[in-house]
């Protein structure tokens, strides 16, 4: 899967959980999911599950814990999809 497609899908999954949409709209790939997008930390669980469903992959807890930014998320799903 190409990076652009992965980015679009990752962004679409995270968007409903974000209180601050500006970094997504600006395409800031270094935006931190919790601090910059204002996602409730509990919801990372749901975002990881949604990645698994969307990309048909399995993300172990250790890998999930390393997903801090949009870039991290794109990297993880791209490496497995």
């Amino acid at each position: 899967m190409d990076q652009q497609t992965a980015l679009e899908k990752v962004t679409a999954i995270i968007k409903p959980y974000a209180k601050n949409l500006a970094p997504l709209e600006e395409g800031n790939l270094d935006a931190r999911i919790l601090e910059d997008l204002g996602v409730n930390s509990a919801r990372l669980v749901d975002i990881i599950l949604a990645f698994e469903d969307e990309f048909g992959i399995s993300i172990d807890d250790e890998t999930a814990d390393k997903v801090r930014t949009i870039n991290d998320a794109v990297r993880v799903v791209s490496s497995q999809a």
Binding site: K15, P16, A18, V39, N40, R43, L44, D46, L49
Partner: protein
């Protein structure tokens, strides 16, 4: 003790959303009972119910997406009615993330069954399949007993006691009485109070199995809820939320708030499941003591009651309820208070019933009417003497005191007395 008044209300009911719409629905006798194809698919005997129309679309208007992902139907109803109540009370909406907490306002929002839709659709199947990880993060906050009050506390930045009570079908009325006690004692300036219940076949299935839901009117849903009728055949399940802003009179006057009514009395008790009482039936003495307790707390006499908004669900208990009122009030049937059942229009909202019906009660009192009690033209024979005091059509009144009662499984009772604000 502090005097306590009502300075705001919010309602999302099967027949209306918002106070103006609800008043019109009550005045016009608009039913919110509809045929539910889902219940037909599931082979329910009762295939009608009361569900607020368009609530999912409303939810998208009221709540940000990141909040809505963790809100089941009971929480959505709570949020809509609660925000409406807050605005109606003339209070400013808080910033959704930062900003001050209102340390002087609390909430008692009850629910009878709670987030069983989330349990049934999300938690139970995944646990049984060994896929606990797939439950995700949002189930606990939707299934904890206090989901509804917790949700409201966050939406409105409430800083007083925020809690949920649960006492079956007495829940909403009990919440109002608990909030009244709290304010009388000076523990807060404002307490939001009421009840909410979600839309769920899992809740309604148990009642259907008990054969206490209406059957025989699946093709005539608007006629299915028949309190006080000779052809009453069980209650119609309902859902929604009704929330009132209770406030000390001192606080209301300080901020120049509009006042709908004063709460002048209230009582809750349990019949002990003895002497005719059981888990599912009331001990008549308990009911009578509850009404007497409410009157005593208000220093009112039986002659002071102008209107009764009864529990009156459309089961065999309706005649017994009226007999209990008659026994306490000792008034000639021709001089009986007006008595009606809001459930005739919205069904039985279970944990939401008392909240929605307290809103209906205060609306009637403050706007000078008693709504027609629908579907009881064929009055139960034992209620015939009261026929002239059961409004079959809406009437204008100058009623001053309204008694609202709710009774619930567990043999629990609640009665609150409202006085029109003059």
């Amino acid at each position: 003790m502090n005097r306590v008044v009502i300075t705001g209300m919010g309602i999302i009911a099967p027949n209306a959303h918002g106070l103006e719409d609800f008043e019109q629905a009550l005045r016009q006798g608009r039913s919110g009972i509809r045929h539910m194809s889902r219940l037909e698919e599931l082979n329910f005997s009762c295939q009608v119910a009361g569900v607020p129309s368009g609530y999912e679309e409303l939810a998208r208007e009221y709540f940000a997406p990141d909040r809505l992902v963790a809100m089941n139907s009971g929480m959505i109803f709570t949020g809509i009615a609660g925000i409406d109540c807050w605005r109606d009370a003339g209070l400013p909406m808080p910033d959704p993330i930062e900003g001050p907490v209102d340390w002087e306002t609390g909430a008692v929002i009850g629910t009878g069954v709670g987030g069983v839709d989330t349990l049934g659709d999300v938690v139970f199947p995944r646990v049984k399949e060994g896929k606990v990880r797939r439950i995700g993060s949002t189930s606990v906050e939707q299934t904890m007993s206090s989901a509804v009050s917790g949700c409201l506390g966050g939406l409105l930045a409430l800083g007083g006691q925020v809690t949920t009570n649960s006492s079956a079908c007495t829940t909403g009325t009990e919440a109002v009485i608990q909030a009244w006690w709290h304010l009388q004692a000076g523990r807060a300036r404002r307490v939001m109070a009421g009840g909410a219940e979600g839309v769920s076949e899992y809740i309604w299935g148990g009642f259907d199995a008990m054969r206490v839901l209406a059957r025989g009117f699946n093709d005539r849903p608007e006629e299915a809820s028949r309190p006080m009728s000779a052809s009453a055949c069980g209650f119609v399940p309902g859902s929604g939320a009704g929330i009132l802003m209770l406030e000390t009179l001192e606080s209301a006057r300080e901020r120049g708030a509009r006042i709908y009514a004063e709460i002048v009395g209230g009582h809750v008790n349990c019949g002990g499941q003895r002497n005719g009482g059981s888990t599912t039936a009331p001990n008549p003495e308990g009911v009578r003591r509850c009404i007497q307790g409410a009157l005593a707390s208000a220093g009112l006499s039986p002659d002071d009651i102008d209107v009764i908004n009864g529990h009156l669900t459309a089961t065999m208990a309706d005649p017994l309820e009226v007999q209990n009122w008659a026994s306490v009030l000792q008034r000639d049937p021709k001089d009986f208070p007006w008595i009606n059942s809001t459930k005739s229009l919205i069904g039985h909202g279970l944990g939401a019933a008392g909240g929605m019906e307290c809103v209906a009660s205060v609306l009637q009192l403050s706007r000078g009417f008693v709504h027609g009690s629908a579907n009881c033209q064929d009055l139960h024979p034992t209620l015939e003497p009261y026929n002239t005091r059961i409004p079959h059509q809406t009437r204008e009144t100058d009623a001053r005191i309204l008694a609202k009662a709710s009774f619930g499984f567990g043999d629990v009772n609640g009665c609150v007395l409202f006085r029109r604000w003059e």
